[in-house]
Symmetry: C2
Subunit: 304 residues, 2 copies
Protein backbone atom coordinates (compact mmCIF):
# COMPACT_ATOMS: atom_id res chain seq x y z
CA UNK A 1 0.00 0.00 0.00
CA UNK A 2 1.13 3.53 -0.72
CA UNK A 3 1.47 5.75 2.33
CA UNK A 4 2.03 9.51 2.32
CA UNK A 5 3.67 10.92 5.43
CA UNK A 6 2.97 14.63 5.91
CA UNK A 7 4.61 14.84 9.35
CA UNK A 8 8.07 16.37 9.69
CA UNK A 9 10.30 13.73 11.30
CA UNK A 10 13.84 13.74 12.62
CA UNK A 11 16.22 11.17 11.10
CA UNK A 12 15.80 9.00 14.22
CA UNK A 13 12.00 9.15 13.99
CA UNK A 14 12.08 8.44 10.23
CA UNK A 15 14.35 5.43 10.78
CA UNK A 16 11.99 4.20 13.46
CA UNK A 17 8.96 4.51 11.16
CA UNK A 18 10.79 2.86 8.24
CA UNK A 19 11.90 -0.02 10.44
CA UNK A 20 8.36 -0.71 11.57
CA UNK A 21 6.35 0.03 8.42
CA UNK A 22 6.60 -3.48 6.94
CA UNK A 23 6.30 -3.91 3.17
CA UNK A 24 4.32 -0.74 2.50
CA UNK A 25 5.70 2.03 0.30
CA UNK A 26 6.07 5.30 2.16
CA UNK A 27 6.63 8.75 0.67
CA UNK A 28 7.89 11.45 3.03
CA UNK A 29 6.63 14.94 2.21
CA UNK A 30 9.74 16.42 3.83
CA UNK A 31 11.94 14.70 1.22
CA UNK A 32 10.18 16.31 -1.76
CA UNK A 33 11.61 19.74 -2.65
CA UNK A 34 8.75 22.19 -3.28
CA UNK A 35 6.24 19.44 -2.70
CA UNK A 36 2.87 19.64 -4.43
CA UNK A 37 -0.26 17.49 -4.26
CA UNK A 38 1.00 14.88 -6.84
CA UNK A 39 2.59 12.32 -4.54
CA UNK A 40 -0.28 12.60 -2.08
CA UNK A 41 -2.82 11.79 -4.82
CA UNK A 42 -1.25 8.38 -5.35
CA UNK A 43 -1.52 7.39 -1.67
CA UNK A 44 -4.15 5.13 -0.15
CA UNK A 45 -3.13 6.14 3.37
CA UNK A 46 -2.03 9.51 4.72
CA UNK A 47 -0.30 10.06 8.07
CA UNK A 48 -0.49 13.70 9.06
CA UNK A 49 -2.72 16.70 8.51
CA UNK A 50 -2.84 17.68 4.82
CA UNK A 51 -5.00 20.50 3.41
CA UNK A 52 -8.69 19.59 3.18
CA UNK A 53 -8.63 20.53 -0.54
CA UNK A 54 -6.08 17.77 -1.15
CA UNK A 55 -8.36 15.17 0.43
CA UNK A 56 -11.26 16.46 -1.67
CA UNK A 57 -9.24 15.89 -4.86
CA UNK A 58 -7.92 12.44 -4.06
CA UNK A 59 -9.42 9.38 -5.76
CA UNK A 60 -7.12 6.92 -3.97
CA UNK A 61 -7.20 8.03 -0.33
CA UNK A 62 -9.03 5.61 1.94
CA UNK A 63 -7.64 6.52 5.36
CA UNK A 64 -6.31 9.72 6.87
CA UNK A 65 -4.55 9.40 10.26
CA UNK A 66 -4.47 12.88 11.77
CA UNK A 67 -1.60 13.97 14.01
CA UNK A 68 -4.00 16.01 16.14
CA UNK A 69 -7.00 15.58 18.36
CA UNK A 70 -8.77 18.51 16.70
CA UNK A 71 -10.43 17.75 13.36
CA UNK A 72 -12.35 20.99 12.84
CA UNK A 73 -10.38 21.65 9.62
CA UNK A 74 -12.06 18.57 8.10
CA UNK A 75 -15.62 19.13 9.33
CA UNK A 76 -16.68 20.53 5.94
CA UNK A 77 -15.08 17.62 4.02
CA UNK A 78 -17.40 15.91 1.59
CA UNK A 79 -15.67 12.55 1.20
CA UNK A 80 -17.81 10.06 3.14
CA UNK A 81 -15.71 7.09 2.02
CA UNK A 82 -12.45 8.42 3.48
CA UNK A 83 -11.93 7.19 7.03
CA UNK A 84 -10.42 9.79 9.35
CA UNK A 85 -8.83 8.87 12.67
CA UNK A 86 -7.53 11.32 15.24
CA UNK A 87 -5.23 11.17 18.30
CA UNK A 88 -8.05 11.15 20.83
CA UNK A 89 -6.66 11.36 24.38
CA UNK A 90 -3.05 11.42 23.15
CA UNK A 91 -2.29 14.84 24.62
CA UNK A 92 -4.24 14.57 27.85
CA UNK A 93 -1.27 14.01 30.19
CA UNK A 94 1.04 16.79 28.89
CA UNK A 95 -1.82 19.26 28.34
CA UNK A 96 -3.25 18.72 31.83
CA UNK A 97 0.24 19.13 33.32
CA UNK A 98 0.83 22.38 31.42
CA UNK A 99 -2.56 23.70 32.54
CA UNK A 100 -1.84 22.89 36.21
CA UNK A 101 1.67 24.30 35.82
CA UNK A 102 0.29 27.59 34.48
CA UNK A 103 -2.32 27.84 37.25
CA UNK A 104 0.23 27.09 39.99
CA UNK A 105 2.69 29.58 38.46
CA UNK A 106 0.16 32.39 38.83
CA UNK A 107 -0.96 31.35 42.32
CA UNK A 108 2.53 30.67 43.70
CA UNK A 109 4.22 33.58 41.92
CA UNK A 110 6.63 31.44 39.88
CA UNK A 111 6.18 33.63 36.79
CA UNK A 112 7.02 36.77 38.81
CA UNK A 113 9.98 35.00 40.42
CA UNK A 114 11.27 34.07 36.96
CA UNK A 115 11.31 37.75 36.01
CA UNK A 116 12.94 38.67 39.33
CA UNK A 117 15.69 36.12 38.70
CA UNK A 118 16.43 37.69 35.33
CA UNK A 119 16.73 41.05 37.08
CA UNK A 120 18.73 39.45 39.95
CA UNK A 121 16.26 41.12 42.28
CA UNK A 122 15.33 39.71 45.67
CA UNK A 123 11.80 40.42 46.91
CA UNK A 124 11.44 37.45 49.24
CA UNK A 125 9.15 37.89 52.26
CA UNK A 126 7.43 40.96 50.75
CA UNK A 127 5.81 38.67 48.14
CA UNK A 128 4.43 36.11 50.53
CA UNK A 129 1.07 37.70 51.30
CA UNK A 130 0.31 38.08 47.57
CA UNK A 131 0.59 34.34 46.99
CA UNK A 132 -2.38 32.00 46.94
CA UNK A 133 -2.89 28.25 47.15
CA UNK A 134 -4.73 25.95 44.76
CA UNK A 135 -5.88 23.84 47.74
CA UNK A 136 -9.67 23.63 47.98
CA UNK A 137 -10.43 25.70 44.87
CA UNK A 138 -13.72 25.45 43.03
CA UNK A 139 -12.83 24.41 39.47
CA UNK A 140 -15.23 24.49 36.53
CA UNK A 141 -14.01 22.55 33.50
CA UNK A 142 -15.63 23.16 30.13
CA UNK A 143 -15.36 19.84 28.31
CA UNK A 144 -15.35 16.41 29.96
CA UNK A 145 -13.07 14.76 27.40
CA UNK A 146 -9.74 13.04 28.06
CA UNK A 147 -7.99 16.30 29.03
CA UNK A 148 -10.81 17.37 31.34
CA UNK A 149 -10.84 14.01 33.10
CA UNK A 150 -7.05 14.04 33.51
CA UNK A 151 -7.29 17.56 34.96
CA UNK A 152 -9.90 16.35 37.43
CA UNK A 153 -7.54 13.60 38.56
CA UNK A 154 -4.67 16.03 39.18
CA UNK A 155 -6.78 18.77 40.77
CA UNK A 156 -8.50 16.37 43.14
CA UNK A 157 -5.11 15.76 44.81
CA UNK A 158 -5.10 19.51 45.59
CA UNK A 159 -8.52 19.04 47.25
CA UNK A 160 -10.20 21.05 44.49
CA UNK A 161 -13.90 20.53 43.86
CA UNK A 162 -14.21 19.89 40.13
CA UNK A 163 -17.36 20.15 38.04
CA UNK A 164 -17.87 19.84 34.30
CA UNK A 165 -19.87 21.65 31.66
CA UNK A 166 -20.38 19.38 28.66
CA UNK A 167 -23.42 18.96 26.42
CA UNK A 168 -22.48 15.43 25.48
CA UNK A 169 -21.03 13.80 28.59
CA UNK A 170 -22.65 11.89 31.42
CA UNK A 171 -19.81 13.19 33.65
CA UNK A 172 -21.12 16.75 33.37
CA UNK A 173 -22.95 18.57 36.15
CA UNK A 174 -23.87 21.37 33.73
CA UNK A 175 -25.29 20.48 30.33
CA UNK A 176 -27.14 23.60 29.24
CA UNK A 177 -25.54 26.98 28.64
CA UNK A 178 -28.06 28.40 31.14
CA UNK A 179 -26.61 26.08 33.79
CA UNK A 180 -23.08 27.14 32.84
CA UNK A 181 -24.02 30.79 33.31
CA UNK A 182 -25.20 30.00 36.85
CA UNK A 183 -21.99 28.08 37.63
CA UNK A 184 -19.49 30.71 36.42
CA UNK A 185 -19.71 33.13 39.40
CA UNK A 186 -18.83 30.38 41.91
CA UNK A 187 -15.68 29.19 40.13
CA UNK A 188 -12.17 30.04 41.34
CA UNK A 189 -10.71 28.50 38.20
CA UNK A 190 -12.39 27.99 34.82
CA UNK A 191 -10.66 25.69 32.33
CA UNK A 192 -11.67 25.43 28.69
CA UNK A 193 -10.84 22.15 26.95
CA UNK A 194 -13.62 21.97 24.39
CA UNK A 195 -13.19 21.16 20.70
CA UNK A 196 -14.19 23.90 18.27
CA UNK A 197 -17.76 23.84 16.98
CA UNK A 198 -20.32 26.52 16.17
CA UNK A 199 -21.60 26.09 19.75
CA UNK A 200 -18.22 26.70 21.42
CA UNK A 201 -17.10 29.77 19.46
CA UNK A 202 -17.13 32.69 21.92
CA UNK A 203 -18.91 30.55 24.51
CA UNK A 204 -16.93 32.76 26.93
CA UNK A 205 -18.08 36.04 25.44
CA UNK A 206 -17.93 39.47 27.06
CA UNK A 207 -21.18 38.95 28.95
CA UNK A 208 -20.23 35.57 30.41
CA UNK A 209 -16.71 36.78 31.19
CA UNK A 210 -18.32 39.58 33.20
CA UNK A 211 -19.77 36.90 35.53
CA UNK A 212 -16.31 35.55 36.42
CA UNK A 213 -15.08 36.29 39.99
CA UNK A 214 -12.37 39.01 40.11
CA UNK A 215 -10.16 36.53 42.02
CA UNK A 216 -10.61 33.80 39.41
CA UNK A 217 -8.16 32.45 36.85
CA UNK A 218 -9.28 31.42 33.36
CA UNK A 219 -7.44 28.73 31.43
CA UNK A 220 -7.80 27.67 27.80
CA UNK A 221 -6.18 24.53 26.44
CA UNK A 222 -8.86 23.71 23.87
CA UNK A 223 -9.41 26.11 20.98
CA UNK A 224 -8.65 29.84 20.96
CA UNK A 225 -12.09 30.70 19.61
CA UNK A 226 -13.72 29.75 22.95
CA UNK A 227 -12.91 33.13 24.48
CA UNK A 228 -13.56 36.70 23.36
CA UNK A 229 -9.91 37.70 23.60
CA UNK A 230 -10.48 41.44 23.46
CA UNK A 231 -12.89 41.25 26.39
CA UNK A 232 -10.46 39.01 28.31
CA UNK A 233 -7.47 41.28 27.64
CA UNK A 234 -9.53 44.21 28.91
CA UNK A 235 -10.41 42.36 32.13
CA UNK A 236 -6.81 41.26 32.71
CA UNK A 237 -5.57 44.79 32.21
CA UNK A 238 -8.08 46.41 34.55
CA UNK A 239 -7.68 43.68 37.16
CA UNK A 240 -11.29 42.45 37.09
CA UNK A 241 -9.94 38.90 36.66
CA UNK A 242 -6.90 37.55 38.53
CA UNK A 243 -5.12 35.81 35.70
CA UNK A 244 -5.18 33.71 32.54
CA UNK A 245 -3.32 30.68 31.22
CA UNK A 246 -3.75 30.49 27.46
CA UNK A 247 -2.25 27.66 25.48
CA UNK A 248 -4.39 28.51 22.48
CA UNK A 249 -5.29 31.81 20.88
CA UNK A 250 -7.46 32.70 17.90
CA UNK A 251 -4.39 33.64 15.88
CA UNK A 252 -1.23 31.58 16.22
CA UNK A 253 1.49 32.78 16.29
CA UNK A 254 -0.02 35.59 18.33
CA UNK A 255 0.45 38.81 16.31
CA UNK A 256 3.13 41.15 17.67
CA UNK A 257 0.57 43.88 18.39
CA UNK A 258 -1.94 41.59 20.13
CA UNK A 259 -3.05 43.03 23.51
CA UNK A 260 -2.53 39.66 25.28
CA UNK A 261 1.27 40.10 25.05
CA UNK A 262 0.95 43.05 27.45
CA UNK A 263 -1.58 41.60 29.88
CA UNK A 264 -0.42 41.09 33.48
CA UNK A 265 -0.77 37.74 35.29
CA UNK A 266 -1.00 35.94 31.98
CA UNK A 267 0.79 32.76 30.95
CA UNK A 268 0.95 32.32 27.16
CA UNK A 269 2.13 28.78 26.53
CA UNK A 270 2.14 29.20 22.73
CA UNK A 271 0.31 25.94 21.89
CA UNK A 272 3.12 23.89 23.44
CA UNK A 273 0.95 22.19 26.10
CA UNK A 274 0.65 18.95 24.12
CA UNK A 275 4.40 18.72 23.59
CA UNK A 276 6.85 16.34 25.17
CA UNK A 277 10.19 14.74 24.28
CA UNK A 278 8.80 11.56 22.73
CA UNK A 279 5.70 13.15 21.22
CA UNK A 280 6.49 12.24 17.60
CA UNK A 281 7.47 8.65 18.40
CA UNK A 282 4.21 8.41 20.35
CA UNK A 283 2.27 9.57 17.29
CA UNK A 284 4.17 7.16 15.03
CA UNK A 285 3.30 4.30 17.39
CA UNK A 286 -0.40 5.16 17.25
CA UNK A 287 -0.22 5.27 13.44
CA UNK A 288 1.61 1.91 13.29
CA UNK A 289 -0.96 0.24 15.53
CA UNK A 290 -3.80 1.56 13.40
CA UNK A 291 -1.91 0.52 10.24
CA UNK A 292 -1.79 -3.03 11.56
CA UNK A 293 -5.57 -2.93 12.06
CA UNK A 294 -6.04 -1.44 8.57
CA UNK A 295 -3.91 -4.18 6.98
CA UNK A 296 -5.95 -6.85 8.77
CA UNK A 297 -9.19 -5.06 7.80
CA UNK A 298 -10.00 -4.58 11.49
CA UNK A 299 -11.90 -1.48 12.70
CA UNK A 300 -9.57 1.52 13.12
CA UNK A 301 -9.14 3.12 16.55
CA UNK A 302 -10.47 6.67 17.12
CA UNK A 303 -12.42 6.93 13.92
CA UNK A 304 -14.23 10.24 13.72
CA UNK B 1 -0.75 37.54 81.57
CA UNK B 2 1.72 39.72 79.73
CA UNK B 3 2.24 38.81 76.09
CA UNK B 4 4.94 40.19 73.81
CA UNK B 5 4.13 40.06 70.07
CA UNK B 6 7.25 40.14 67.89
CA UNK B 7 5.39 39.53 64.61
CA UNK B 8 4.77 42.45 62.25
CA UNK B 9 0.99 42.66 61.74
CA UNK B 10 -1.24 44.73 59.48
CA UNK B 11 -3.92 46.82 61.19
CA UNK B 12 -6.54 44.21 60.24
CA UNK B 13 -4.43 41.37 61.68
CA UNK B 14 -3.71 43.39 64.83
CA UNK B 15 -7.42 44.14 65.32
CA UNK B 16 -8.17 40.46 64.86
CA UNK B 17 -5.60 39.45 67.49
CA UNK B 18 -6.78 42.15 69.93
CA UNK B 19 -10.41 41.07 69.52
CA UNK B 20 -9.58 37.48 70.34
CA UNK B 21 -6.88 37.85 72.98
CA UNK B 22 -9.26 38.02 75.96
CA UNK B 23 -8.12 39.79 79.13
CA UNK B 24 -4.39 39.39 78.58
CA UNK B 25 -2.11 42.39 78.15
CA UNK B 26 -0.35 42.44 74.82
CA UNK B 27 2.61 44.56 73.78
CA UNK B 28 3.30 44.87 70.06
CA UNK B 29 6.98 45.20 69.17
CA UNK B 30 6.03 47.10 66.01
CA UNK B 31 4.50 49.89 68.13
CA UNK B 32 7.71 50.59 70.08
CA UNK B 33 10.04 53.03 68.29
CA UNK B 34 13.63 51.70 68.39
CA UNK B 35 12.48 48.75 70.44
CA UNK B 36 14.92 47.12 72.83
CA UNK B 37 14.73 44.03 75.02
CA UNK B 38 12.96 45.83 77.95
CA UNK B 39 9.32 45.16 77.09
CA UNK B 40 10.09 41.59 76.14
CA UNK B 41 11.69 40.93 79.53
CA UNK B 42 8.38 41.63 81.29
CA UNK B 43 6.44 39.11 79.23
CA UNK B 44 5.43 35.60 80.30
CA UNK B 45 4.47 34.69 76.77
CA UNK B 46 6.11 35.63 73.48
CA UNK B 47 4.49 35.25 70.05
CA UNK B 48 7.11 35.41 67.32
CA UNK B 49 10.80 34.69 66.86
CA UNK B 50 12.93 36.93 69.08
CA UNK B 51 16.75 36.69 69.32
CA UNK B 52 17.94 33.69 71.32
CA UNK B 53 19.97 36.05 73.55
CA UNK B 54 16.74 37.74 74.63
CA UNK B 55 15.26 34.41 75.74
CA UNK B 56 18.48 33.62 77.62
CA UNK B 57 18.16 36.87 79.59
CA UNK B 58 14.48 36.63 80.47
CA UNK B 59 13.42 35.65 83.98
CA UNK B 60 9.69 35.87 83.22
CA UNK B 61 9.30 34.03 79.91
CA UNK B 62 7.47 30.70 80.23
CA UNK B 63 6.29 30.09 76.68
CA UNK B 64 7.64 31.08 73.27
CA UNK B 65 5.30 30.47 70.31
CA UNK B 66 7.48 30.53 67.19
CA UNK B 67 6.13 31.79 63.87
CA UNK B 68 8.18 29.19 62.00
CA UNK B 69 8.53 25.45 61.69
CA UNK B 70 12.32 25.73 61.91
CA UNK B 71 13.75 26.13 65.39
CA UNK B 72 17.45 25.66 64.66
CA UNK B 73 18.12 29.21 65.99
CA UNK B 74 17.06 28.01 69.46
CA UNK B 75 18.84 24.63 69.52
CA UNK B 76 21.67 26.05 71.64
CA UNK B 77 19.27 27.69 74.11
CA UNK B 78 19.93 26.82 77.73
CA UNK B 79 16.54 27.55 79.26
CA UNK B 80 14.96 24.18 80.01
CA UNK B 81 11.95 25.75 81.74
CA UNK B 82 10.87 27.84 78.74
CA UNK B 83 8.37 25.93 76.61
CA UNK B 84 8.84 26.47 72.89
CA UNK B 85 6.14 25.61 70.35
CA UNK B 86 6.54 25.78 66.60
CA UNK B 87 4.20 25.83 63.57
CA UNK B 88 4.68 22.16 62.71
CA UNK B 89 2.89 21.31 59.46
CA UNK B 90 1.59 24.87 59.04
CA UNK B 91 3.37 25.47 55.74
CA UNK B 92 2.97 22.03 54.22
CA UNK B 93 0.21 22.93 51.73
CA UNK B 94 1.74 26.14 50.28
CA UNK B 95 5.30 24.77 50.33
CA UNK B 96 4.31 21.55 48.57
CA UNK B 97 2.37 23.56 45.97
CA UNK B 98 5.34 25.86 45.34
CA UNK B 99 7.66 22.86 44.96
CA UNK B 100 5.34 21.15 42.45
CA UNK B 101 4.86 24.48 40.67
CA UNK B 102 8.62 24.93 40.30
CA UNK B 103 9.12 21.37 39.06
CA UNK B 104 6.27 21.64 36.54
CA UNK B 105 7.57 25.04 35.36
CA UNK B 106 10.91 23.51 34.43
CA UNK B 107 9.38 20.39 32.82
CA UNK B 108 6.62 22.21 30.92
CA UNK B 109 8.73 25.25 29.98
CA UNK B 110 6.57 27.80 31.83
CA UNK B 111 9.65 29.71 33.05
CA UNK B 112 10.97 29.97 29.47
CA UNK B 113 7.53 30.97 28.21
CA UNK B 114 7.41 33.72 30.84
CA UNK B 115 10.64 35.17 29.43
CA UNK B 116 9.37 34.79 25.87
CA UNK B 117 6.22 36.71 26.77
CA UNK B 118 8.30 39.59 28.11
CA UNK B 119 10.18 39.64 24.80
CA UNK B 120 6.90 39.21 22.86
CA UNK B 121 8.59 36.33 21.07
CA UNK B 122 6.71 33.33 19.71
CA UNK B 123 8.58 30.01 19.66
CA UNK B 124 5.55 27.71 19.74
CA UNK B 125 5.95 24.31 18.08
CA UNK B 126 9.77 24.52 18.11
CA UNK B 127 9.71 24.18 21.91
CA UNK B 128 7.48 21.11 22.11
CA UNK B 129 10.14 18.41 21.84
CA UNK B 130 12.16 20.02 24.66
CA UNK B 131 9.27 19.68 27.12
CA UNK B 132 8.90 16.82 29.54
CA UNK B 133 6.13 15.42 31.70
CA UNK B 134 6.08 14.76 35.43
CA UNK B 135 3.92 11.67 34.86
CA UNK B 136 5.54 8.50 36.13
CA UNK B 137 8.66 10.14 37.55
CA UNK B 138 10.76 8.52 40.25
CA UNK B 139 10.79 10.99 43.16
CA UNK B 140 13.11 10.78 46.16
CA UNK B 141 12.06 13.00 49.05
CA UNK B 142 14.58 13.79 51.79
CA UNK B 143 12.46 14.24 54.91
CA UNK B 144 9.16 12.50 55.63
CA UNK B 145 7.65 15.35 57.65
CA UNK B 146 4.42 17.21 56.92
CA UNK B 147 5.77 18.82 53.73
CA UNK B 148 7.17 15.53 52.41
CA UNK B 149 3.90 13.72 53.03
CA UNK B 150 1.90 16.49 51.35
CA UNK B 151 4.28 16.31 48.37
CA UNK B 152 3.72 12.57 48.14
CA UNK B 153 -0.04 13.13 48.02
CA UNK B 154 0.24 15.64 45.16
CA UNK B 155 2.87 13.71 43.19
CA UNK B 156 0.97 10.44 43.42
CA UNK B 157 -1.79 12.03 41.30
CA UNK B 158 0.89 12.49 38.60
CA UNK B 159 1.61 8.73 38.88
CA UNK B 160 5.02 9.43 40.40
CA UNK B 161 6.66 6.75 42.48
CA UNK B 162 7.66 8.46 45.72
CA UNK B 163 10.19 7.21 48.26
CA UNK B 164 11.56 8.86 51.40
CA UNK B 165 14.93 9.20 53.05
CA UNK B 166 14.48 9.96 56.74
CA UNK B 167 16.46 8.71 59.71
CA UNK B 168 13.54 9.16 62.08
CA UNK B 169 10.40 8.16 60.18
CA UNK B 170 8.68 4.82 59.75
CA UNK B 171 7.49 6.12 56.32
CA UNK B 172 11.06 6.10 55.00
CA UNK B 173 12.40 3.49 52.57
CA UNK B 174 15.93 4.81 53.11
CA UNK B 175 17.17 5.39 56.66
CA UNK B 176 20.94 5.29 56.35
CA UNK B 177 23.05 7.69 54.31
CA UNK B 178 24.50 4.62 52.57
CA UNK B 179 20.98 3.72 51.38
CA UNK B 180 20.43 7.30 50.22
CA UNK B 181 23.61 7.15 48.14
CA UNK B 182 22.28 4.05 46.39
CA UNK B 183 18.88 5.68 45.74
CA UNK B 184 20.17 8.95 44.25
CA UNK B 185 21.11 7.67 40.75
CA UNK B 186 17.60 6.30 40.13
CA UNK B 187 15.76 9.50 40.98
CA UNK B 188 14.23 11.80 38.35
CA UNK B 189 13.43 14.36 41.02
CA UNK B 190 15.09 14.82 44.42
CA UNK B 191 13.32 17.06 46.93
CA UNK B 192 14.93 18.26 50.15
CA UNK B 193 12.55 19.13 52.99
CA UNK B 194 14.71 18.33 55.99
CA UNK B 195 15.21 20.57 59.03
CA UNK B 196 18.74 21.79 59.64
CA UNK B 197 20.92 19.70 61.91
CA UNK B 198 24.62 18.76 61.93
CA UNK B 199 23.60 15.63 59.97
CA UNK B 200 21.81 17.50 57.19
CA UNK B 201 24.38 20.21 56.49
CA UNK B 202 25.82 19.48 53.01
CA UNK B 203 24.07 16.11 52.96
CA UNK B 204 23.98 16.81 49.21
CA UNK B 205 27.67 17.54 48.87
CA UNK B 206 29.72 17.54 45.67
CA UNK B 207 30.23 13.78 45.72
CA UNK B 208 26.56 12.90 46.21
CA UNK B 209 25.50 15.54 43.68
CA UNK B 210 27.77 13.78 41.18
CA UNK B 211 25.52 10.70 41.49
CA UNK B 212 22.41 12.62 40.36
CA UNK B 213 21.09 11.74 36.86
CA UNK B 214 21.85 14.43 34.25
CA UNK B 215 18.12 14.53 33.44
CA UNK B 216 17.13 15.00 37.07
CA UNK B 217 15.79 18.06 38.87
CA UNK B 218 16.79 18.91 42.43
CA UNK B 219 14.46 20.82 44.73
CA UNK B 220 15.11 22.34 48.15
CA UNK B 221 12.31 23.65 50.35
CA UNK B 222 13.94 22.79 53.68
CA UNK B 223 17.13 24.57 54.66
CA UNK B 224 19.72 26.05 52.29
CA UNK B 225 22.59 24.29 54.05
CA UNK B 226 21.44 20.90 52.71
CA UNK B 227 23.16 21.46 49.35
CA UNK B 228 26.71 22.42 48.40
CA UNK B 229 25.60 25.42 46.34
CA UNK B 230 28.90 25.93 44.52
CA UNK B 231 28.86 22.32 43.32
CA UNK B 232 25.21 22.62 42.30
CA UNK B 233 25.76 25.91 40.43
CA UNK B 234 28.62 24.25 38.58
CA UNK B 235 26.45 21.30 37.55
CA UNK B 236 23.57 23.56 36.45
CA UNK B 237 25.94 25.66 34.37
CA UNK B 238 27.62 22.73 32.63
CA UNK B 239 24.30 20.92 32.10
CA UNK B 240 25.12 17.82 34.13
CA UNK B 241 21.83 18.29 35.98
CA UNK B 242 18.58 19.31 34.28
CA UNK B 243 17.34 21.91 36.73
CA UNK B 244 16.85 23.16 40.26
CA UNK B 245 14.03 24.65 42.29
CA UNK B 246 15.45 26.39 45.35
CA UNK B 247 13.19 28.04 47.86
CA UNK B 248 16.00 28.25 50.38
CA UNK B 249 19.64 29.22 50.02
CA UNK B 250 22.49 29.39 52.50
CA UNK B 251 22.45 33.19 52.34
CA UNK B 252 19.13 35.02 52.13
CA UNK B 253 18.70 37.40 50.41
CA UNK B 254 20.93 35.72 47.85
CA UNK B 255 23.98 38.01 47.36
CA UNK B 256 24.01 39.90 44.06
CA UNK B 257 27.18 38.12 42.91
CA UNK B 258 25.98 34.61 43.81
CA UNK B 259 26.44 32.14 40.91
CA UNK B 260 22.89 30.77 41.32
CA UNK B 261 21.42 33.99 39.85
CA UNK B 262 23.05 33.08 36.52
CA UNK B 263 22.27 29.37 36.46
CA UNK B 264 19.99 28.13 33.68
CA UNK B 265 16.87 26.04 34.37
CA UNK B 266 16.76 27.32 37.92
CA UNK B 267 13.74 28.55 39.82
CA UNK B 268 14.68 30.71 42.81
CA UNK B 269 11.54 31.16 44.86
CA UNK B 270 13.21 33.41 47.44
CA UNK B 271 11.86 31.70 50.56
CA UNK B 272 8.28 32.53 49.55
CA UNK B 273 7.04 28.94 49.34
CA UNK B 274 5.35 29.03 52.72
CA UNK B 275 3.51 32.24 51.90
CA UNK B 276 -0.16 32.74 51.20
CA UNK B 277 -2.76 35.48 51.56
CA UNK B 278 -4.04 34.50 54.99
CA UNK B 279 -0.69 33.28 56.33
CA UNK B 280 -0.52 35.74 59.25
CA UNK B 281 -4.14 35.19 60.32
CA UNK B 282 -3.41 31.46 60.18
CA UNK B 283 -0.44 31.94 62.50
CA UNK B 284 -2.49 34.13 64.86
CA UNK B 285 -5.16 31.42 65.02
CA UNK B 286 -2.60 28.79 65.99
CA UNK B 287 -1.25 31.09 68.70
CA UNK B 288 -4.76 31.81 70.02
CA UNK B 289 -5.61 28.10 70.24
CA UNK B 290 -2.39 27.40 72.11
CA UNK B 291 -3.02 30.42 74.35
CA UNK B 292 -6.38 28.91 75.32
CA UNK B 293 -4.59 25.67 76.24
CA UNK B 294 -1.94 27.62 78.17
CA UNK B 295 -4.59 29.53 80.11
CA UNK B 296 -6.32 26.27 81.04
CA UNK B 297 -2.95 24.69 81.91
CA UNK B 298 -3.50 22.09 79.20
CA UNK B 299 -0.53 20.65 77.24
CA UNK B 300 0.54 22.97 74.41
CA UNK B 301 0.38 21.80 70.78
CA UNK B 302 3.65 21.29 68.86
CA UNK B 303 5.97 21.61 71.81
CA UNK B 304 9.56 21.08 70.76
Amino acid sequence: MKIYCAIQLSQREKDYLNQNIGKHTICFQQDIPNYQIDNFLQAEICFGNVPRAWVEQSENLKWLQLESVGFDAYLALNKPKVMITNLKGFFSVPVAESAVSGILSLLRGINLLTSLKEQKKWEGAAMRSSLRTLEGSEVLILGAGAIGLQLKKLLTAFNCRVSFFDKYSSQAQYVLVDDLVKAIPGADIIIGCLPESPETIHLMDKERLSLVKPTAIIVNVGRGSLIDEDALAHKLTNGSIAGAVLDVTTKEPLPADHPLWNCPNTVLSQHTAGGYEEEIIGKVNIFLKNLERYTKAEPLKDLI
